[in-house]
């Protein structure tokens, strides 16, 4: 339950700050949530990952759907990701999730009771 709350708060917070602040504000949000919603570091880290990966995946997929994958196909060839929009959405989610996870891990260690 606590984990679900952490994920939702992280996701909503990241999307809101992302409207005004640079992309790395996701790290600040994920860390802050981990500080305020205390969990064991492994759980907090997972929450951070999902809290960013999920909204990034949803946003990317929504944009891609509306765009008929015109751009994602071209970018997925350039990066290169075999021209696959799905793969590109997954990589997008993972990159965001990784930052969220790392920041949440940091947040959780700050408030962890022991080790």
């Amino acid at each position: 339950m606590k984990m679900l709350l952490a994920i939702i708060v992280t996701a909503v917070g990241a999307v809101l700050t992302g409207m005004f602040l640079p992309w790395w504000s996701i790290a600040v949000v994920a860390a802050a949530v981990a500080v305020r919603i205390r969990q064991h570091p492994p759980k907090a880290t997972l929450s951070g990952f999902l809290g960013i990966a999920i909204p990034w995946a949803i946003m990317a997929a929504g944009i891609d759907l509306a765009n008929d994958s015109i751009l994602s196909r071209r970018i997925a060839q350039t990066l290169p990701l075999d021209g696959s929009p799905v793969l590109l959405i997954l990589v997008t989610a993972c990159v965001g999730g990784l930052v969220g996870a790392s920041a949440a891990w940091f947040g959780s260690t700050v408030v962890a009771r022991n080790g």
Partner: protein
């Protein structure tokens, strides 16, 4: 303690991760920023059904402007006055083509190394050394003294910058995000640079001076006249043959030494930017006497490198007193090629030689003094600072002489031995105000207006073709062309005094032109403007075949309709093959060919001379001609960058048609004396082995062999942004001059009835954004030879059905 360590570790990991994902590594963009759905490339993915209407609040406008975007995303701009119309043009250019215009301005100024690092250094140095910024600044001075034109450029610049101020980082074009660079604000200088970039492209086509100078050490001048003739046998000039020319009013005097001299020692250098035989264009106009409607029809297809985004951007620019439709050049105000209700105009490149090289003697390596008119004279030294990505600044010193900048010297030149300092005298360095020409052409209503508009156009020399609703047709080769003594500027000239300098310019009224000829049509396709009776030495890098093909067609056409003209623009008859193939077939010895070559011979001998996409005969002919030219010239001229220049294909053909025993047929590397039969037969056998290879790869059909492709401006860096493998016919020597990545960058047919009936298309789309459905939506139709109907919209039609959206620009004070 353990906890502290953990906090530190997790913090450092997080910070390091964020920094790494915010940094460009090699060619990988900063991945965190790039992939962020709210900041990165995803923001460039336009919704296919995007609602395109908006209301904008802008400063810099005097009155509100309405822009109707039609189904092809062509903006129809309705403004209350001239300045506002160009403000809107600047805004829209930036909105749809920001990266392109920014890149072109940086390219012109020699600043690509800033973006891609040291691999662009030679390119940047070349731009600096030919003095691109110097040229643009000089033209800008003249432009800014013309208060009307300055006001238009100022408004345009304000429009671009108003767009830049209206966006944030996530709105930047995707290329900025990939390259991790920042858009630059616009200036009038950047518009001037954009025009100079075009001028440089179009005045380098004929730049064989250095190569011909090398040839002088091997061939006597008399022989060069045969290999590089001034007037081709098959010439169909722009000015109809038989038109009398008044005597020249400016008569340049050749120096006492008798003309062009080779420099003091053999020149062992190659051009950095050798001739591109592909650049060229067609335009023609048919008078009412030959059209079905009785009104003239004007056609134009400028051939340039095909790129995405396209070099052109379609617009209609309307004020209460004028309304013009056509293609515009992102980075510059005005319509460049287009029409209004009264007139239409088009351009092709004049191909005149307006760039000469002078051999310079420096006193010493410091380049501070050079020998001129019997004394050491000081150069003006420009220290060029070139910023190189990942390396910091590098410097280059360019010495300016009485002739112009010393482009080549010990520090710059693709040479192995000896580096002769060469100064370049380029007409593009002379201040000029090309903007005025387009400003006035956009508003022209008559032949007199057209003449006045083009009269000040200086560089690059262009063939302006013209038609009016009143029935007038005209063509004028306009530019500021040096009045040369015969042979002047053909090879590198001594620059030790002013005896070989340009003495003056051909008076504008004496430029080749024609008006309402009895024959009822006019054309230009980069051929020599006039036959040998023209009283000036008009040297240039002319192309003859296409004009001959156009004249062949037009001279027998009657009751012409726009549809006929479209078919003609897509004509793929190989005129070269029509001329020379019978000769080849007469001389080839079938019995001496192996079986595979015999089969290719059968294919080419039954071929209909049409270079269609499916044609195999065209591929065989093309490869055969290619190996024939190698067989003819490689032994005499050499191969590679230091080779002597090879005569053009047209010269070669005309030579062979005149003389089947011409001396170059013999291969000087063998003891035997070869005949044309030997050469033609060996050439086909040689071609057969590469053809066999192509055939196995499924590339024997011409369309597949040619593989027409439209690349993105960043070429290899983003192959996924290109459109490759377009299966289409044609080639550079045909009217439909589609090569591999070169060809008709815009096709236009304008029927001057009322209202004007107009058609046009270019291989791209109105949006420069690879994430837009309008990025490449016209490529397929262009490839199939189709056209879009061009809509010269009336203000009252602004809410008509085919409008996709209306952008209303409101004034903020």
């Amino acid at each position: 303690m353990k906890r502290g360590l953990l906090i530190a570790t997790s913090l450092i990991t997080t910070v390091a991760l964020v920094v790494a994902l915010d940094t460009r590594l090699g060619v990988v963009p900063p991945l965190g920023r790039f992939l962020s759905p709210q900041h990165g490339f995803w923001q460039n993915a336009e919704a296919v059904k995007e609602q395109r209407s908006q209301v904008l609040q802008l400063t810099g406008l005097a009155k509100p402007v309405d822009v109707a975007l039609d189904t092809n995303l062509v903006p129809h701009v309705f403004a209350a006055n001239d300045a506002d119309v160009y403000f809107a043009q600047g805004f829209l250019h930036a909105k749809y083509r920001l990266f392109q215009m920014d890149l072109q301005a940086r390219l012109a100024a020699g600043r690509i190394s800033e973006i891609v690092g040291p691999r662009a250094l030679a390119l940047d140095r070349q731009q600096r050394r030919i003095g691109m910024v110097y040229a643009a600044e000089r033209s800008l001075q003249i432009l800014e003294r013309d208060s009307t034109i300055k006001a238009m450029f100022d408004a345009y610049t304000r429009g671009v910058n108003a767009y830049l101020e209206s966006i944030t980082q996530e709105d930047w074009p995707v290329e900025y995000k990939l390259l991790d660079i920042t858009p630059e604000s616009w200036t009038n200088l950047r518009s001037a640079l954009t025009l100079k970039l075009m001028a440089k492209r179009l005045s380098s086509d004929n730049d064989q001076d250095i190569a011909l100078t090398r040839a002088l050490t091997t061939f006597p001048l008399r022989e060069l006249d045969v290999l590089f003739p001034d007037v081709h046998d098959s010439l169909k000039p722009i000015v109809p043959q038989g038109t009398p020319f008044p005597p020249a009013s400016v008569v340049p005097v050749a120096p006492a030494t008798g003309g062009a001299l080779p420099p003091s020692r053999p020149l062992s250098m190659a051009e950095i930017d050798p001739v591109d035989p592909n650049t060229g264009s067609n335009n023609w106009v048919v008078a009412g006497s030959r059209t079905q409607s009785g009104y003239p029809i004007l056609c134009n297809d400028p051939h340039l490198e095909l790129t995405l985004p396209s070099i052109w951007y379609q617009m209609q620019l309307a004020t209460p007193t004028s309304s013009t439709y056509g293609v515009t050049l992102p980075g510059c105000p005005f319509v460049i090629i287009g029409f209004n209700d009264h007139v239409a105009w088009g351009v092709t490149n004049a191909q005149r030689d307006v760039k000469d090289y002078y051999s310079i003697r420096f006193k010493d390596a410091s380049k501070q003094q050079y020998w001129y008119n019997g004394a050491w004279r000081a150069t003006t030294r420009h220290i060029e600072q070139i910023m190189v990505r990942g390396q910091g600044a590098t410097y280059d010193t360019v010495a300016y002489t009485a002739f112009g900048p010393v482009m080549y010297d010990a520090s710059f030149g693709d040479t192995t031995v000896g580096r002769e300092p060469l100064a370049v005298r380029w007409a593009g360095h002379d201040p000029s105000n090309e903007g005025r020409t387009f400003y006035m052409l956009n508003r022209a209503r008559s032949h007199a207006d057209y003449l006045q508009a083009i009269s000040t156009f200086a560089c690059p020399g262009q063939n302006f073709v013209f038609a009016a609703h009143t029935g007038d047709i005209a063509v004028w080769q306009q530019g500021r062309f040096p009045a040369r003594w015969k042979g002047q500027g053909r090879v590198v000239m001594p620059g030790f005094d002013d005896s070989h300098a340009w003495q003056g310019f051909i008076p504008q009224r004496e430029n080749p032109h024609a008006y309402n000829p009895a024959r009822g049509y006019l054309h230009s396709a980069n051929q020599r403007p006039a036959d040998a009776t023209y009283p000036y030495y008009a040297s240039g890098g002319y192309i003859t075949q296409r004009a001959a093909a156009i004249e062949d067609r037009l001279s027998v056409m009657h009751n012409v309709t726009p549809r006929d003209m479209m078919q003609m623009q897509n004509d793929v008859t190989n005129g070269t093959a029509v001329d020379v193939l019978p000769l080849l077939l007469r001389h080839v010895r079938r019995s001496r060919l192996r079986a595979d070559a015999q089969r290719y011979l059968d294919i080419v001998s039954t071929w209909d001379r049409q270079a269609s996409a499916a044609s195999r005969g065209q591929t065989v002919f093309d490869r055969w001609m290619d190996s024939l030219q190698v067989a003819l010239w490689a032994d005499n001229m050499g191969q590679g960058p230091m080779a002597l220049p090879w005569p053009s294909e047209q010269t070669t053909i005309e030579y062979l048609l005149r003389d089947t025993t011409m001396p170059y047929i013999d291969d000087v590397t063998t003891p035997e004396r070869e005949t044309l039969s030997d050469l033609v037969t060996t050439a086909l056998q040689q071609a057969a082995s590469s053809l066999r290879h192509d055939e196995r790869g499924g590339r024997l059909a011409w369309g597949a062999w040619k593989n027409t492709s439209v690349y993105h401006l960043m070429k290899d860096a983003v192959p996924a942004f290109a459109r490759t493998g377009l299966n289409i016919g044609g080639d550079r020597t045909m009217i439909n001059a589609v090569g591999h990545s070169h060809g008709p960058s815009w096709r236009m047919v304008i029927h001057m009835q009322h209202p004007v009936e107009a058609y046009g298309i270019y291989p791209g789309g109105q949006s420069g954004n690879p994430g837009s459905p309008f990025y490449d939506n016209n490529v397929e139709a262009w490839a199939r030879g189709r056209y879009n109907k061009l809509w010269l919209m009336k203000r009252s039609e602004i809410s008509a059905t085919p409008v996709r959206g209306i952008i209303r620009m409101e004034v903020v004070r």
